[in-house]
């Protein structure tokens, strides 16, 4: 018996959901829902238990980086990509979030999807997603990570387009995949460059080598900077950052559990994970760090502004996700990787909860997603209300909810940021704080519109009902996590101990992050925390005033700010811009210039022209061969005249002809 059996057989953790997916996909069509449930929940549940056991063994082994090569997948020349898994502190966080939250969402989905067609198909895809996501976080090299990376993109495509009869759903799935591919284009080039520079794509070897290299100077496009920017391009696609965020709001076409699991808690954070995983490279590329911070900060603010005016409950949450992901990148960009991962984790709890609760609302409302046709639901679906309020308090950053701690450490790091100078740090902090204000506003707007005020729907037609227990139980667990999930950092805030979360991640990020907060930094932290909480309170108060106290003012305000309002409502017309600048020209050029122009008229025209020319010549020559003796005589004479003419009148011609005869 090996000492650490689960670590030695770590591949079982991702393989279980794959088996579940295969079994349900191949045989589930004929099975009742109950068996499909057992397979899907059983495989992910076992996978979660396996992950827990692996993590326990990891702790037992003294938290030594675990790295195991299972088999070689691709090899050519000096390139090797193996099915190699690894486990370090960062993996521990990710794998527990993925399997834990994933398992809860599987349970929830058995209730939410109970009356949908293609039940087995849904769980087959969902398990497939778990497989790829686990590969992504357990991979020990970039190529295997890319397997998970593309694989979760595929699962996302399948699940967004789950209702494939709806054109908008299949459009959204396709859009997600293609936009992600644009990011993957960069990601691949990043891998190629890293391989060129370091001769390996294995994390341990690559980072060890990279660590000994001199860093790129600020503003200098060296290997590190370019490689990091290319990797970040992939991250922008997967984690829906500017300018590649456009797919995520559309992805809300998928069933709500999918939005919770893939498009909030796990897959979309993969970009943050990759940046954090590559922190050694990024630490060598200050310019790239600055870009990450700026893109993150801008996206956080930009997406939050769109979220202000959306009326579809899931769309609000989608833009909120984009915005919060921006927060995580902001953290990574200012070098606070553990703060970014901390927020990734707390966000996974409260955003999954928000989506699941929203799903419960939609379920209760019989499919209605427009918040303008809701209202006053708090009494009818009390549990959903309570849990959703918990998550809202968490995302808005009120103590002692989880989001408070993670958001606070991001804002603190941003404030102290040194990349690109002090002023850049202050500007980024400004973006972060403004985002916090907007976040509190739109989240409380959502709460007030949905749960408070008078019902704005026909109560005789819609029979509001609380969701079944298999949906409520995951809500409760996530609500608990949304409260306590941030407490690991509480001692640092209270001054009674270290930030246990970042201390845990210290072995991973220790080399690039400054040591724990000093006493004077702590007073700054408390000050900033108070500022942040006051800002959030302000946002919530404005929402209260506009949507509960003086609802009649809302329309007036929208009218008086019409241009700004409709710009936000139409999401800054970015989709329209992309369609007009990229998609339509590309299709037009492909059709008219390349296909009908170059291919049919140009190349094929020339080829067929040659063929017709040859036919015409043949035709002409054929007429010469008439069988008429007199016409032959004429040709003989003409030929003789030509020969004589050439010999006598063409310069050097005679010589040539005589030469030919000889």
């Amino acid at each position: 018996m090996p000492k650490y059996p689960m670590l030695e057989f770590l591949w079982i953790v991702p393989l279980l959901p794959l088996l579940g997916s295969a079994v349900n996909g191949l045989f589930g069509a004929k099975w009742p829902n109950k068996i499909v449930n057992w397979v899907a929940i059983g495989s992910t549940g076992l996978s979660f238990l396996g992950a827990l056991e692996a993590v326990r063994e990891f702790f037992e082994s003294g938290q030594v980086l675990f790295h195991e090569e299972f088999f070689t997948w691709i090899a050519a020349g000096n390139f090797r990509a193996g099915f190699d898994l690894q486990m370090d502190q960062l993996t521990v966080v990710m794998v527990l979030v993925v399997t834990g939250v994933g398992w809860l969402i599987h349970i929830y989905a058995t209730g939410y999807m109970a009356h949908e067609g293609g039940y087995y198909r849904f769980f087959s895809y969902l398990n497939l997603f778990m497989f790829f996501m686990l590969i992504l976080v357990l991979a020990a090299n970039y190529v295997l990570l890319f397997v998970g990376w593309e694989g979760v993109g595929l699962s996302s495509y399948l699940l967004i387009g789950f209702y494939f009869l709806k054109k908008s759903a299949s459009d959204a799935g396709k859009k997600a995949f293609i936009v992600n591919r644009i990011g993957d284009f960069g990601f691949m080039l990043g891998m190629f460059l890293l391989f060129k520079a370091f001769g390996t794509l294995d994390f341990a070897q690559l980072f060890a080598k990279a660590d000994r290299w001199p860093a790129d100077a600020m503003g200098h496009l060296g290997t590190f900077t370019i490689a990091c920017l290319l990797l970040f391009m992939g991250a922008c696609g997967k984690s829906a950052q500017l300018p590649l965020y456009v797919w995520l709001p559309d992805a809300m076409e998928g069933p709500t559990p999918v939005s919770a699991l893939i498009h909030a808690a796990t897959m979309v954070t993969a970009g943050v994970y990759v940046v954090a995983r590559s922190h050694i490279l990024f630490a060598h590329a200050p310019t790239a760090m600055l870009v990450v911070a700026i893109v993150g900060g801008t996206t956080a603010f930009f997406a939050a502004t769109i979220g202000l005016v959306q009326t579809d409950i899931k769309k609000v949450l989608a833009y909120s996700t984009v915005s919060q992901l921006g927060y995580m990148f902001l953290a990574c960009g200012v070098g606070a990787f553990s703060a970014g991962i901390f927020h990734l984790m707390t966000h996974a709890f409260f955003k999954a909860l928000l989506f699941l609760a929203a799903g419960s609302v939609i379920h209760a409302m019989g499919g209605e997603q427009d918040m303008l046709r809701m209202g006053g639901l708090s009494k009818k679906i009390r549990w959903t209300y309570v849990t959703m309020l918990t998550a809202t308090l968490a995302i808005a950053g009120f103590p002692p909810f989880a989001g408070f701690f993670s958001k606070d450490s991001i804002l603190l790091s941003t404030f102290e940021n040194e990349y690109g100078g002090r002023n850049v740090g202050y500007a980024l902090y400004g973006f972060g704080l403004a985002t916090a204000l907007l976040t509190a506003f739109y989240m409380f707007r959502l709460i007030f519109l949905t749960f408070h005020g008078r019902p704005r729907f026909d109560e005789h037609k819609v029979h509001v009902h609380e969701s079944p227990n298999n949906m409520l139980a995951p809500l409760m667990v996530l609500a608990l996590l949304s409260i306590v999930g941030g407490w690991l950092a509480a001692p640092a805030m209270l001054g009674t101990g270290p930030d246990y979360f970042s201390k845990f991640l210290q072995p991973v990020f220790g080399g690039v992050e400054a040591a724990g907060a000093e006493a004077e930094a702590r007073s700054l932290e408390v000050t900033l925390a108070i500022v942040a909480v006051l800002t959030a309170l302000l946002g919530a108060a404005v929402a209260y005033w506009l949507y509960l106290k003086r609802p009649e003012k809302t329309d007036a305000l929208a009218k008086s700010l019409k241009p700004a309002y409709s710009t936000l409502l139409n999401k800054y017309y970015v989709d329209e811009l992309y369609a007009a600048v990229v998609v339509k020209p590309l299709l037009w050029i492909s059709t008219n210039v390349l296909w009908k122009g170059a291919d049919i008229a140009g190349i094929d025209g020339a080829v067929n022209g040659i063929a017709e020319g040859a036919t015409a010549i043949g035709d002409g020559v054929r007429h010469a061969q008439s069988g008429n003796t007199r016409s032959y005589a004429v040709w003989v004479v003409v030929g003789a005249l030509v020969v004589i003419g050439v010999i006598f009148f063409w310069p050097f011609g005679g010589k040539a002809v005589i030469g030919m005869v000889h």
């Binding site: 050519a76 020349g77 595929l154 009869l165 080039l189 492909s590 390349l594 190349i603």
Partner: protein, 545 residues
């Protein structure tokens, strides 16, 4: 007996014997004819697997060689051999032949006997091309293969079949004429048609009795061969025969055409252009790569806007084969292996795409995408297979398309990052055209009443598709089974082109650049201890004292 000296001859002529046997059969017992053809092709496939044992991993050069005098004057010899590259191309051929026969089980109803005879004769030609080591013999098989293919298109094709068949013949012949001239020139200069001999002579200095070509002559010879192969691939802008040939060909014809015939072109480049004319290849590399990259992007964009599903797949081949040519002309060990792998992967996944398109055609007798829509509802199984194959074609990791594409791009990037960056755009566009067409064919509500009651995949179709899917998955995961057997052969080709450059180590261009910088400013390094320490590391790595 088969383990002995004549396995390759058996592989070439066994299908011919089978074809002869078919000819003797009565023409009206279709079922019997089909079964015999299938048995012959399956036996051929099993025979071809025997080659694997004879080509050990890590061994370059030809194996299972056969040599016999055939014609004394001029000295044309029967010289066969297999190496790590041709090995899998032959197996791909022998694998796709029974698949094609099964695919034609129901859809070919007239002149059944002749059809299967042609299919087997096609196999004879293609296997012969891959195994010949004598230029004349190679040319012979190259031309032999043309006739059955043209007849398959011209007799069993669709409406414009004669036009497509003639276009196919003329295009290919136009190229092979030049190749013939090149072969005869080489014979005149060396007195032999034997490929290894000519290769040795060309790599020997004239002072030691070798043949040194003047740059101009070498370029002309290179072009003579290259043109024939480029048409076959087809390389942009010589590709316009392909969409017509594919659209008109019967399913089996398309499968064989895309699956293996196109590979004869890229195989020819690897086997002839690079080793025989290394200087000219190096000079031409930039141009060829440019055409390949144009082909990748152009093929994908044109595929994207095709209203005809089969044409779409045909143009996607132009795009995919562009990766192969790019990988070959990047002259990098990794990209070369990627190119060969991409040839095999494309054979499987595009072959499967044509099979699926053929199955749709069998049901609705049209290739127009607008005639379909919402097919996932009446035929979920076919839809699932189609998606699987489309994903492999767009290079999803863990499926076969990824390995080749990734290695080609990775290897190319090591030497020409610009080429690889442009070519990588193909990764985006392939997702566009495949997913978009998939959406229009399979997703949404049923738009045409006729499509509502279409039957899902039959048992025979499921077997065909499942086989293809298993191979797709296996090639995506167990790629080292193939790459370790072809690595030495690929390295050998690279050594022929650029013998002076070792590729075992990672191209350390970044190290070099740093070192140059460091050496240029020695004072600065002395001032900065951290930098100096880094320099020492970098120097040690490079072995510089």
């Amino acid at each position: 007996m088969l383990h002995g000296g004549h396995l390759l001859s058996v592989l070439i002529f066994f299908p011919a014997v089978g074809a002869l046997a078919l000819l003797l059969l009565r023409g009206d017992d279709h079922k019997f004819i089909r079964i015999i053809a299938l048995i012959v092709s399956l036996a051929e496939f099993l025979f071809s697997l025997l080659m694997i044992r004879a080509v050990p991993a890590g061994a370059a050069g030809y194996h299972l060689e056969e040599y016999a005098k055939w014609i004394n004057q001029p000295p044309i010899n029967y010289h066969l051999g297999v190496d790590g590259i041709s090995l899998f191309l032959v197996i791909l051929t022998t694998f796709l032949t029974p698949i094609s026969i099964l695919a034609s089980w129901k859809s070919i109803a007239h002149r059944v006997k002749e059809f299967f005879v042609m299919l087997l004769m096609l196999e004879v030609g293609v296997v012969g091309v891959f195994l010949s080591l004598d230029l004349f013999l190679f040319f012979l098989f190259w031309e032999v293969m043309l006739i059955p293919m043209a007849l398959l298109i011209g007799i069993w094709g669709h409406d414009r079949r004669v036009y497509a068949a003639v276009k196919f013949i003329l295009y290919t012949m136009a190229g092979s004429i030049f190749m013939l001239i090149g072969i005869i020139w080489l014979y005149n200069a060396t007195g032999t048609f034997d490929l290894p001999t000519i290769q040795t002579l060309l790599h020997t200095p004239a002072s030691q009795g070798g043949l040194e070509l003047a740059p101009r002559t070498e370029t002309l010879l290179f072009l003579a061969f290259f043109l024939a192969f480029a048409i076959k691939v087809p390389l942009f802008p010589l590709h316009t025969w392909l969409p017509d040939a594919h659209v008109e060909a019967p399913t089996a014809g398309s499968v064989m055409l895309a699956g293996v015939l196109l590979k004869m072109g890229t195989y020819g480049m690897i086997r002839f252009c690079l080793p025989l004319f290394p200087e000219a290849s190096r000079r031409a590399a930039g141009w060829v790569a440019a055409l390949a990259i144009i082909g990748i992007i152009y093929g994908a964009l044109v595929a994207m806007v095709q209203p005809n599903l089969k044409k779409l797949v045909a143009y996607s081949s132009v795009s995919h084969l562009g990766f192969v040519v790019l990988g070959i002309f990047a002259f990098h060990n990794i990209s070369m292996q990627g190119a060969v792998y991409q040839m095999l992967a494309h054979g499987i996944s595009t072959g499967a795409l044509f099979l699926l398109v053929g199955m749709l055609y069998d049901r609705r007798h049209t290739f127009e995408i607008s005639e379909y829509g919402g097919l996932a509802t009446p035929m979920p199984k076919l839809a699932a297979f189609f998606l699987f194959v489309a994903l492999s074609s767009l290079g999803l990791p863990m499926l076969n398309g990824f390995v080749g594409e990734y290695l080609v791009l990775l290897g190319t990037y090591q030497r020409h990052w610009g080429w690889a960056s442009w070519a990588a755009l193909g990764v985006i566009f392939s997702a566009c055209y495949l997913l978009w067409s998939y959406q229009r064919v399979f997703f949404g509500e049923i738009t045409r009443e006729k499509n509502r009651a279409l039957p899902d995949a039959s048992a025979r179709e499921k077997w065909i598709l499942a086989t293809m899917a298993v191979v797709t998955l296996w090639m995506g995961i167990g790629s080292t089974f193939i790459t370790k057997r072809m690595a030495a052969a690929a390295q050998d080709v690279i050594d022929q082109v650029e013998p002076q450059r070792p590729y075992e180590a990672a191209a350390p261009s970044e190290f070099k650049r740093n070192v140059v910088k460091l050496n240029a400013t020695p004072t600065q390094t002395e001032q900065d201890p951290a930098r100096a320490a880094a320099n020492i590391v970098a120097r040690e790595r490079l072995g510089i004292r």
